[in-house]
């Protein structure tokens, strides 16, 4: 009896939710956003908020301290309570469903989970355009962070050229779409009927990705002869070269950049590409061919002695990572529907590096946490204005002191473990 009483609340909560599978949590999230759709306005009124909070009420809290209780109440009533309640109630049924799905195939189970997650995201972003663009940018940040983690985390080299690769991808996809599917003053009338555009959007993105890979080849050939700081310096130079080249290329708008992007990067499109990117990268890093990257990082001489072609391994991984950065860049340009070389400078680099090192090296989970965390934090702390750039770096320093490899480093992303039914702790 006594041991029950002395249990801490955290332990009690853990015991209460220990048997809840991911499926139930996703359904809970879906229930919460549907709940917001139905009664969000009325609840916001009741707790004294002027309108439905955009990002979980943090913006209100920072702007107007008197609204803090209301915002907290709103977050608990609309998000936390429905999510937890639904997850807990549905847990037994969700466990059976998860077991059944897993018995059919892991792929099917993953698809069902993703579908529900997308549903939640869809209804959440439905209420507000700012939410929509934040969600899209966050998904793109996940792609960029993952791809950089392949180089900086899994391979253990320090690359600074990711904004450059994004720029190549962004301009590649933009020029492709503007030339073929858009009537604009800059490139003249569309060469193909604009209605075909959305179907060829993936082609543009892949071309952008390939352009980035070609750029990566230029960096890789001189830098991978030996190990050391060469890559960091050459890739940094590459980033600046790309930026100033585009600034001086009047064909693609020079420093003013290009606009009039068609609205092809809708939420489902961005979501699908992010999932595809995550799937391919996770497959790669979990294969023995991908593990060769870890071997190169930990001891290249030993890797060579164990039949690993280290030079080819490094080149492949670098080009592969650049490809996904390029695709992410293409999506980025179409989400903000405007592109100029200033977007792909040192600030972008700092942002992406922060996401990788904050989340955790050598870990897909880490990249997701890092990208989502830093991106949302960046948006949520907007009211702090200039102080935002004190809070976020401070947070990074703290993470580096207490967890030098990042929040969730060196963890394998195993889909089976993620979607399997959960047993209750006793």
């Amino acid at each position: 009896m006594e041991s029950r009483i002395s249990k801490s609340p955290a332990k009690l909560l853990r015991a209460l939710f220990s048997g809840t599978p991911l499926l139930a949590w996703f359904l809970g999230a879906l229930a919460a956003v549907l709940c917001e759709q139905a009664v969000g306005m009325r609840v916001a009124d009741a707790v004294g908020l002027p309108r439905i909070p955009v990002l979980f009420g943090i913006l209100f809290m920072l702007k107007e301290p008197s609204l803090i209780p209301g915002a907290l109440l709103y977050a608990s009533l609309i998000y936390i309570l429905p999510t937890c309640l639904t997850a807990r109630i549905l847990a037994p049924a969700a466990n059976r469903a998860a077991a059944f799905l897993l018995s059919v195939s892991t792929g099917l189970s993953a698809l069902v989970h993703l579908f529900i997650l997308y549903g939640a995201l869809h209804f959440w972003t439905d209420l507000n355009d700012y939410r929509l663009i934040t969600a899209k940018l966050t998904l793109i940040a996940v792609m960029v962070t993952l791809s950089l983690n392949v180089i900086n985390g899994y391979m253990g080299e320090f690359s600074c050229s990711h904004p450059g690769f994004m720029a190549l991808g962004a301009y590649g996809a933009t020029v492709f779409n503007l030339v073929f599917f858009v009537n604009d003053r800059f490139f003249g009338p569309a060469l193909f009927p604009p209605s075909l555009g959305p179907y060829f959007f993936p082609v543009g993105l892949v071309l952008g990705g390939l352009a980035a890979s070609v750029g990566a080849l230029v960096v890789a050939v001189p830098s991978f002869r030996t190990r050391g700081d060469y890559l960091a310096i050459i890739s940094l130079a590459f980033m600046f070269i790309v930026k100033s080249s585009i600034e001086n290329l009047e064909v693609v708008g020079g420093p003013r950049g290009l606009s009039r992007h068609p609205d092809f990067a809708t939420l489902p499109v961005v979501f699908t590409w992010t999932v595809l990117c995550l799937w391919v990268i996770n497959n790669f890093v979990r294969s023995t061919i991908g593990k060769a990257l870890n071997a190169v990082r930990d001891d290249e001489t030993a890797a060579n002695a164990m039949t690993v072609n280290t030079r080819r391994t490094k080149m492949t991984a670098f080009l592969f990572a650049a490809f996904w950065a390029g695709v992410a860049g293409g999506l980025f340009a179409h989400v903000v529907r405007y592109v100029n070389p200033g977007m792909f400078g040192i600030q972008k680099l700092a942002e992406v590096l922060a996401m990788v090192y904050f989340g955790g090296l050598n870990s897909v989970y880490g990249s997701i946490v890092g990208a989502v965390g830093i991106q949302l934090l960046g948006e949520a702390l907007r009211p702090l204005e200039i102080f935002k750039w004190i809070v976020i770096p401070l947070l990074l320093i703290l993470v580096m002191i207490f967890r030098p490899t990042g929040l969730i480093a060196f963890r394998e992303f195993v889909v089976e473990d993620l979607v399997k039914p959960k047993k209750k702790e006793v």
């Binding site: 294969s287 001489t301 060579n304 164990m306 072609n309 592969f320 050598n362």
Partner: protein, 256 residues
Amino acid sequence: MPLLRVEKMTHYFGGLRAVRDYDLTIEPGQIRGIIGPNGAGKTTVFNLITGIYKPTEGRVLLEGKETVGLKSHEIAAMGMGRTFQNMRLWRHMTVLEHIKLARYSKLKYGLAGAFFNTAKRRREEKEGEQKALSLLDMMGAAHLADQVVTNLPYGAQRRVEMARALAMEPKLLLLDEPTAGMNPEELRQIMIMIRDIHRELGLAIFLIEHRLRVVMELCERIQTLVFGEVIAEGTPEETQNNPKVIDAYLGKEKLF
């Protein structure tokens, strides 16, 4: 045809001659050893044979094929496995991953398999895993499969390193001071293990050793290297009684 043949191999580090006119012949299934004081160039000989350094002069033939000029991973894939004096394990990887990775050159699924998790890749990975586990079982390390190597005790790390070299299915195994830093009990175990490996897999072994007792017990023939030159070659008894070897190890007898 001998398994490995080294002819007149010479190597310079800048102006320093590290190895001079080194000759070696290893027949299939033979155990040979190389001894010598610190800095004699023993590890350099290994690095030259395995292609980490390129010899300044001379030839190295593995099963009659010239290996000088090839990359070290290519030479390794031809059937030359090795261990390192300081082990060089991959510190963030598990034991199982070490063993699976040593079969890298035998993977056939390619990048498409790696990116898209094809049926072929799943089959090959599973096969590799089973082979790795049975090898670990043979080495008495199957229970360590999921451990990250840095968490293991020293003796177990040595065992893992040996297993990693064996996973390449080499014809010739080069062991660089396999007993370095071991206590007498670990030493006894590793010697039994080397004998077992030799008997069961029938491969040729070439080892560098510091402790004379180990080489004397294990090897059929021994070379003594001093300042990059072979000063004596013969059976353990011949080597033990060779005055040049005694000189090199114990110093010259003072006559007055």
